[in-house]
């Protein structure tokens, strides 16, 4: 016996909420990407918990794919941020308001 499943749901939900908060409120592209990482981590916690609840390995398999997708997203995202920084000289999303 560890804990009821809804405690895991609450933990992952709070973590996800923090990720959303970081994405919406922070004004730096790097922190926005960090918030996305927090959200992905919350999703993988809940997948592992569900995998334990139903004694089924599919949840853990999906977490492995979540890791791979997070790595791909971060590498391309950070390359994009560096590229944008070199053009505009800032990482504040407010400053990306010129269409060209």
């Amino acid at each position: 016996m560890i804990v009821p499943f809804n405690h895991v749901l609450v933990l992952a939900g709070l973590l996800f909420l923090m990720g959303i908060f970081c994405v919406v409120v922070r004004r730096s592209l790097i922190m926005i990407l960090l918030g996305v990482e927090v959200m992905l981590n919350a999703a993988s916690i809940i997948l592992v918990g569900a995998s334990l609840l139903w004694q089924n390995l599919d949840g853990q398999a999906v977490v492995l794919f979540v890791f791979a997708i997070a790595a791909a997203e971060v590498s391309v995202g950070l390359a994009l941020i560096v590229w944008a920084y070199r053009r505009a000289g800032t990482v504040d999303p407010e400053n990306y308001n010129i269409l060209k």
């Binding site: 016996m1 560890i2 804990v3 009821p4 499943f5 809804n6 405690h7 749901l9 933990l11 939900g13 709070l14 973590l15 909420l17 923090m18 990720g19 959303i20 908060f21 970081c22 919406v24 409120v25 922070r26 004004r27 730096s28 790097i30 990407l33 960090l34 918030g35 990482e37 927090v38 981590n41 993988s44 592992v48 918990g49 995998s51 334990l52 609840l53 004694q55 390995l57 599919d58 853990q60 398999a61 977490v63 492995l64 794919f65 890791f67 791979a68 997708i69 997070a70 790595a71 791909a72 971060v74 391309v76 950070l78 390359a79 941020i81 560096v82 070199r86 053009r87 990482v91 504040d92």
Partner: protein
């Protein structure tokens, strides 16, 4: 209250506190280092939930590689966050509305789900069994992941190389 539930609550407090510290830091280096602690906590949680292989991968990939990459970028870009207002009012309001909506829906789902009161039983997926399972049942997804990673490699290379030429002229090197 078994020793497992005590460990679970300790780990959740650790994860939540370090994440909350991470997302409110002005200095991005501090934020990334706090988040590394949060990912270590998640790795221990995975171990507690019977996924030792994923716990190792969480440390290797998340704490070891992704966060190091973040640190690298934070160090590389000279970003001054001193002037950043952490909570500007124009963004506070939509964030608060979305957050409250999400919180209400989440609580509704957690309370109404009949399965959610089942207690988790301690179990463990041996790494060998896990590897066998994913290669027998999810091998197509693995091949697709390999293509995704190939695309990520090529995309990162193209993005990084194209910026190389103009940067030398536009941005003065050094301070």
């Amino acid at each position: 209250m078994t020793i497992y539930s005590i460990i679970f609550y300790l780990l959740s407090v650790l994860i939540l506190v370090t994440t909350a510290l991470a997302i409110t830091r002005r200095n991005m280096v501090h934020a990334v280092v706090y988040l590394i602690f949060s990912f270590f906590g998640s790795a221990m949680l995975f171990y507690l939930f019977g996924a030792p292989f994923l716990a190792v991968l969480e440390v290797i990939i998340y704490a070891g590689a992704i966060m190091v990459l973040f640190l690298f970028i934070v160090m590389m870009l000279k970003v001054d966050t001193g002037g950043e207002r952490l909570f500007p009012l124009s963004q506070w309001l939509p964030a608060a509305v979305c957050g409250v909506l999400y919180l209400v829906l989440g609580i509704g789902i957690v309370v109404s789900d009949p399965n959610s009161h089942d207690a988790l039983k301690t179990a463990r997926a041996e790494p060998g069994a896990f590897g066998q399972y994913i290669f027998q049942n999810h091998w197509l997804s693995i091949e697709i992941i390999s293509l995704l990673l190939l695309v990520a490699v090529i995309g990162a290379l193209l993005l990084a190389r194209r910026s190389k030429r103009p940067s030398a002229q536009e941005i003065p090197e050094g301070e």
